[in-house]
């Protein structure tokens, strides 16, 4: 579409102008103009030949019967009667009038309701108001954004960071800022939905490898290399996209092996740390710290401030060479209002909490491990736990699920309802099944929290066992 002016598309629009030659520039322009004229002239003629009489046209219009804009959704869908959380979603929360232990929201470090964080947000409103009233380019860059970006870059030990206003749009904009039509992207089949949307937007060729299967990735890379003619390979960028801890499975990625392969096949790497940032590694610096790999081997690290940091938004860190590009080409960065200053301030406060508290991570890892062990004992009750034992996200799958997907989901829904009624907030992971790139097995997604106690974990197991004996036998 020639009239779509998005900066990322300069290269598409002025496709011919690649070389630094002015003559080329003019020649291309002339050629494109004549081509356009030619096409235009031709299509004009064609339409004349095919034209119908006005009456015929009116009849066609009369007869056309479009589909309704939307279909009526089934009225018992859970999304139409969502759980309502009254008050703060802290370590405990009130769901539909039940006071529950919280194992459902992604408040791993209990920062979402930490008084220090709240206080910082309040101070920020007193100084900046609520909204920023503009995108980053147009007076929407508030000094706290710069402060947060600097802090994040320093925290991760990278050159530069850029902050997005929404977690989802961060990775979904970062991928198409680099990967374009004609490029190829290798990606784990368990990748979260935001990554999938980023892949769609890039219009590159996508190859899914089996979840955490390095051999399968190698096979795909080799196949691709063999297939590609060498001249084309010279201009085809390759990317590898992975998550630190997969939201959809709770598993950790085998980062060193993946980076090895990426290096061997000269793939650039994009690492989504939405769960692992602030939860993995001795000091919360994520999966790179956990495996002790050099962070510069990863081209771009994308993180979220919506889970561990208890705020809203997302960020990218990397070398200036990489990150700077997004300030002109990240769609969600350029064409959306910047993150409200109060949420920026909250993220800064949370980040400082992590830095101030060197034992926080080891406590969290201990709790995650304990919870994992406890959940592993639910085999007899009919559950299988999946996920990295020290990671904060676990999935509980049914060992003997009903064949029918609808029944399977309904069963998990019932178990979740039972748990909530009995003081433990556990919910099924929500997916849009028809549009996920790969089918997702229904599960209960359980999140750990740094404040969990042994006694609370015992309650959780007790309630889950009761639910199992009620619904699974």
């Amino acid at each position: 579409m020639g009239t779509y002016w998005i900066p990322t598309n300069i290269d598409e629009l002025l496709g011919g102008i690649k070389e630094a030659s002015l003559l080329h520039f003019f020649l291309e322009g002339f050629l494109v103009a004549s081509l356009l004229w030619f096409i235009f002239r031709k299509s004009y003629k064609k339409r004349d030949v095919h034209s119908m009489s006005k009456e015929e046209e009116d009849r066609l219009i009369e007869e056309w019967n479009p589909e309704p804009l939307v279909s009526t959704p089934r009225q018992d869908h859970p999304a139409l009667k969502p759980h309502v959380v009254t008050g703060k979603a802290g370590h405990y929360l009130d769901v539909d009038g039940h006071h529950c232990l919280n194992l459902a929201t992604h408040n791993y470090l209990s920062f979402a309701d930490k008084p220090e964080v709240e206080e910082r947000a309040i101070q920020s409103i007193r100084k900046y108001g609520v909204g920023s009233c503009g995108p980053r380019g147009f007076y929407g860059t508030v000094d706290v954004h710069l402060e947060l970006e600097e802090k994040l870059a320093k925290f991760m030990g990278m050159e530069e960071a850029c902050v997005y206003a929404y977690g989802f749009s961060t990775i979904a904009s970062a991928i198409p800022a680099y990967a374009k039509r004609g490029d190829v992207i290798f990606v784990d089949e368990a990748a979260n939905f935001a990554i999938q949307k980023g892949l769609d937007a890039s219009r590159s060729s996508i190859y899914y490898f089996k979840h955490n299967d390095v051999q399968d990735l190698e096979r795909l890379l080799l196949e691709h290399e063999a297939k590609m003619n060498p001249r084309k390979a010279k201009v085809t960028r390759k990317f590898l996209v992975m998550e630190g801890i997969y939201m959809n499975t709770g598993n950790i990625c085998p980062l060193p092996a993946l980076l090895n392969l990426a290096h061997r096949f000269k793939c650039r790497t994009i690492l989504d740390e939405n769960v692992s940032f602030g939860t993995l590694g001795e000091t919360g610096r994520g999966v790179t710290e956990h495996f002790n790999v050099n962070r510069e081997d990863v081209d771009l690290i994308v993180g979220s401030m919506e889970w561990a940091l208890g705020s809203i938004g997302g960020f990218c860190v990397g070398s200036s060479f990489i990150v700077e590009h997004q300030r002109l080409s990240g769609l969600g960065y350029c064409f959306s209002a910047s993150l409200p200053p109060l949420l920026t301030a909250a993220a800064i406060a949370s980040l400082e909490e992590i830095e101030r508290n060197p034992t926080l991570m080891s406590v969290l890892h201990g709790k995650c491990q304990d919870l994992h062990n406890a959940l592993s004992n639910l085999g007899e009750a009919g559950f299988r736990v999946s996920g990295f034992s020290e990671g904060p996200v676990k999935h509980l799958f049914l060992l003997n699920p009903p064949e029918d997907l609808g029944k399977h989901q309904a069963l998990l829904h019932d178990i979740s309802q039972y748990c909530i009624s009995n003081g433990v907030a556990i919910i099924p992971a929500s997916y849009l099944d028809q549009i996920e790139a790969q089918p997702r097995t229904p599960s209960l997604r359980i999140t750990a929290n740094v404040d969990l106690t042994k006694a609370e974990m015992e309650t959780v197991i007790k309630v889950l066992k009761q639910a199992a004996s009620k619904f699974l036998s």
């Binding site: 804009l69 900046y128 007076y139 929404y166 959306s336």
Partner: protein, 554 residues
């Protein structure tokens, strides 16, 4: 401030504009004692005032003036020449000097990450006026804003902060109704909501991300817009990008205005539907495309389209134009298409009751199938909504990508919207909201008329609070923005590639928070700049009388 050649050029011109305070026209008008007569009547929306049966009157309205004056040929030629000159100089520069930029390390043998022209453009063309964007602020973006001062010692490659601050009149932020405030009811109630709900629920709407404040926000939004239901999301951009794909599929046709926002385009692309573009606000072209689509069906097969969706915006943020809503609705009814209307810049800012372009034209909100808008602008908050029939909203509750996978809106952000929306509706028991809506309408008219009189070319509708002032030449964007900032006015410059190459512009966003004195100050300074930098391109006859602020009232 940056001291580049361009600015020096501007300085030289200063000598000529000695008495730039009053334009001859204004003086003339005063002498003759001619008072302004509103030839074109009042704005249609405003004319109906608070009338309740606005719907039936839709048809007899007189359209308020919208103008897109053509660029004079000489300027067009100069603009192209100027741009080519910049490109040539850029190539020379690139050839002669190694750029002081970060190079990639340890990626030998990798396919280059960036397209060469793109890189060249951002380094050697955009960089020249790079200081005009991303200027950090350190205050609330209200009627005035405090800019963090920065300088560049290497022609825009890098910036340093001087530690100084500069308070400017703010014509850059989308603060249409002046609700960007650090005190007052909105701020206070938002603070209360943090105490009650904290900053985030760390969950999605499908999971545990729904709190009473979200339900209240959605109810209030639906009431405000006069429709059955609404659903809200944490980001306006994502509202478009993640919801349009749910209602479209391959085999559907989208007819999209050529000036539509990037978020709409992204959403449409993700949907897999076929996209056709109609000329900006051109109803003839829209009808042509529509008619052709229904008659011809899908390409090659001629199978009829599954459905046709027209996508348009209320107020176009780069053009300052207003959608021709009554005509669009008539066309969509005639051809059985659906209408998706993005009211990002119009909700709150347009119409006698601030309910957006639907209110402005007095059309029935039910005639728009999908009402979309954002809370970033008039409400001084963040996020977006989709509103319409209950069936539609229920469909989004179930199928929206954002409802299922993106985090729910932050409670203080939601509270800011609720409070400001109540104020606009007068539910707080005051006339504060109504006053702001009127003040914005008046400021808009006054500012636009004065600019017209000055002889500069401005685009768009006389009732649109977004005012693009055409400067055409790439380098003039920089010169004007810099001069304005040096005179303590913050405005936004927009150039290629966000606009066509030819149409560099400065954009002013008016606000109800601006006073007449502030606007007069800006206008005086603009008069001066327009004279010195040669921005008076308009060849239309100018109004000779005195434009009275008080006349801009209904």
């Amino acid at each position: 401030m940056a001291t580049e050649g361009l600015l020096d050029g501007a300085r030289q011109l200063k000598i000529h504009g000695a008495n730039g305070k009053h334009s001859p026209n204004v003086a003339n008008g005063k002498a003759n004692g001619v008072k302004l007569v509103r030839k074109n009547g009042l704005s249609p929306g405003v004319r109906n005032g608070m009338a309740t049966d606005v719907h039936s009157k839709g048809k007899e309205k007189i359209r308020s003036k919208e103008s897109f004056e053509e660029v004079p040929l000489y300027t067009a030629v100069m603009t192209y020449m100027g741009f080519y000159l910049l490109v040539v100089l850029g190539y020379l520069n690139q050839f002669l000097f190694a750029p002081p930029v970060a190079k990639e390390k340890n990626r030998k043998g990798y396919v280059p990450l960036y397209n060469r022209f793109e890189q060249f453009y951002s380094r050697y063309v955009y960089r020249r006026i790079r200081d005009c964007w991303n200027r950090p602020i350190c205050s609330v973006p209200g009627a005035e804003v405090v800019l963090k001062d920065r300088i560049t010692n290497d022609y825009g490659w890098t910036f340093e902060y001087t530690g100084l601050e500069k308070k400017c009149l703010n014509l850059g932020s989308y603060n249409y109704l002046g609700f960007a405030e650090a005190s007052g009811p909105c701020a206070e109630e938002s603070i209360e909501s943090i105490k009650k709900y904290a900053c985030s629920l760390c969950s999605t709407r499908h999971e545990l991300g729904t709190s009473p404040i979200h339900l209240e926000l959605e109810e209030t939004t639906a009431r405000f817009l006069g429709v059955e239901a609404a659903i809200t999301f944490g980001m306006g951009f994502a509202t478009n990008a993640l919801n349009l794909p749910c209602i479209l599929s391959p085999g559907c046709l989208v007819i999209s205005d050529e000036k539509n926002h990037a978020s709409l385009i992204l959403g449409l692309r993700l949907s897999g539907a076929t996209i056709r573009v109609f000329k900006h606000n051109n109803m003839k072209d829209l009808e042509k495309v529509l008619r052709n689509a229904v008659v011809q069906g899908q390409p090659k097969t001629h199978v009829p389209w599954k459905k046709i969706l027209i996508v348009a915006e209320g107020v176009y943020s780069m053009e300052g134009s207003i959608v021709h809503l009554p005509e669009v609705i008539a066309l969509k009814k005639k051809y059985k298409a659906y209408l998706f209307l993005d009211e990002a810049h119009s909700v709150g800012a347009m119409g006698p009751r601030g309910r957006g372009v639907v209110d402005y034209f007095g059309v029935n909100p039910h005639d728009v199938d999908v009402l979309m808008g954002t809370f970033t602008k008039s409400f001084g908050s963040a996020g977006g909504y989709i509103a319409g029939s209950k069936e539609l909203v229920d469909y989004f509750r179930v199928n929206s990508h954002a409802a299922c996978y993106a985090s729910s809106m932050s409670p203080p952000v939601a509270q800011q919207i609720i409070t400001s929306m109540r104020i606009i509706m007068g539910e707080d028991g005051t006339h504060e909201g109504q006053k702001r809506v009127m003040q914005l309408a008046r400021n808009t008219r006054y500012f636009r008329r004065r600019l017209h009189q000055m002889g500069v070319i401005i685009y768009g509708n006389e009732d649109s609070p977004v005012v693009p002032l055409l400067v055409y030449m790439f380098s003039k964007i920089g010169a004007v923005v810099r001069t304005l900032v040096s005179k303590k006015i913050a405005a936004v410059g927009v150039g290629f590639p966000a606009t066509p190459l030819m149409e560099g512009r400065i954009r002013f966003c008016l606000s109800a928070a601006h006073t007449k004195e502030q606007l007069d100050n800006v206008l005086d300074i603009l008069e001066d700049i327009a004279e010195r930098l040669g921005l008076k391109y308009s060849q239309l006859p100018r109004y000779k009388g005195v434009i009275q602020y008080e006349d801009e009232i209904e």
